[in-house]
């Protein structure tokens, strides 16, 4: 079931990640433990192998994984791991 009524708009506005980012995300996903499953979105439960495939294909789930990875790296730069980052904006 697709819950996201803004999906089309989101897809149009989605950031396009280049091959370097894709390769980075694949490399990071390779470090997931064997037998790991990620639950993401409206009921999707994806194994490590399936996630890597999604990233390589660049589909919606793959784009999401790239967004999460880039958000993490950006967050490190912005000090998200310090206590003050927890404060309410």
């Amino acid at each position: 079931m697709n819950f996201d009524k803004n999906k089309d708009a989101n897809e149009k506005n989605a950031v396009q990640y280049d091959d370097d980012v894709r390769d980075l995300v694949v490399a990071r996903l390779e470090t997931l433990p064997a037998g790991a499953v990620i639950s993401i979105g409206s009921g999707q439960e994806l194994t490590k192998e399936k996630l890597i495939q999604c990233v390589k294909e660049g589909n919606e789930t793959g784009q999401k994984m790239m967004e999460i990875e880039m958000s993490f790296l950006q967050g490190l730069k912005d000090g998200i791991l310090y206590d003050e980052a927890l404060a309410f904006n």
Binding site: M1, F3, D4, K5, N6, R28, T31, L32, P33, G35, A36, V37, I38, S39, I40, G41, S42, G43, E45, T47, K64, I68, E69, S71, F72, G75, I80, L81, D83, A85, L86, F88
Partner: protein, 215 residues
């Protein structure tokens, strides 16, 4: 007067079974604090039952375990339970915690505008990482625990009499503690691969509405 806690636990896939099993961890505390639990499990996690409980039994605390979207939270077999501009007013005057994807974005914002109401949820996808081998015994899965212990802290903090804002802060602190533990201890690469997803959930856990509301 006895406080009532409404809980939905659809249990129709592995993710919702994990949420359901981990939610049981705060049942004892709820009872100890004098709360009666209205547990809508599996097929009972449907819109008709939820609407009926909310309007007739007036729980002060609502915990939704399930999938969702920006304007709704869902129950058994992903059928919508509470939807923005449709039946969200049933959450008026209550504290709601939705362990669900994206619902804080539209539904939570709308609910948070009602008087004397708080809605805690996630502005984007709630990510849960778990291990296949623990599917039949989710509470033994320490990897999933990195995500679900901070999440449960929202409920336990509220049950202990703290405010909605404090519950979110404590949960975020617990996410951060898990992140820092993974960064600084001699954990395996396996565990540290969870980092980015913990950061994601911590970042998107949000409070809408009245921050000083208590149960």
């Amino acid at each position: 007067m006895t406080k009532r806690l409404l809980l939905t636990r659809p249990d129709h896939d592995y993710a919702t079974r994990y949420l359901s099993a981990w939610a049981e961890k705060f049942f004892d505390l709820a009872k100890e604090k004098g709360c009666s639990i209205i547990d809508l499990r599996r097929e009972r996690a449907n819109r008709i039952e939820v609407e009926s409980v909310l309007s007739k039994r007036n729980p002060c605390f609502v915990v939704i375990n399930g999938h969702g979207g920006d304007d709704l939270v869902a129950g058994y077999e992903n059928k919508p339970l509470l939807i923005a501009k449709t039946n969200s007013s049933l959450l008026k005057g209550k504290i709601t915690y939705a362990i669900s994807c994206q619902s804080a974005l539209v539904l939570g914002e709308e609910v948070g505008r009602y008087k004397d109401t708080a809605y805690i949820g996630y502005k984007d996808d709630f990510i849960l990482l778990y291990l296949e081998k623990y599917r039949t015994r989710p509470t033994e899965d320490n990897l999933a625990g990195l995500f679900l212990e901070p999440s449960n802290l929202v409920a336990t903090t509220l049950l202990k009499g703290h405010t909605a804002k404090e519950s979110v802060l404590r949960a975020r602190q617990e996410f951060l503690r898990n992140i820092q533990k993974l960064l600084t201890s001699k954990t395996t690469t396996d565990d540290s691969s969870a980092l980015r997803y913990l950061v994601w959930d911590m970042k998107h856990l949000t409070l809408c509405g009245k921050g000083d509301k208590k149960l």
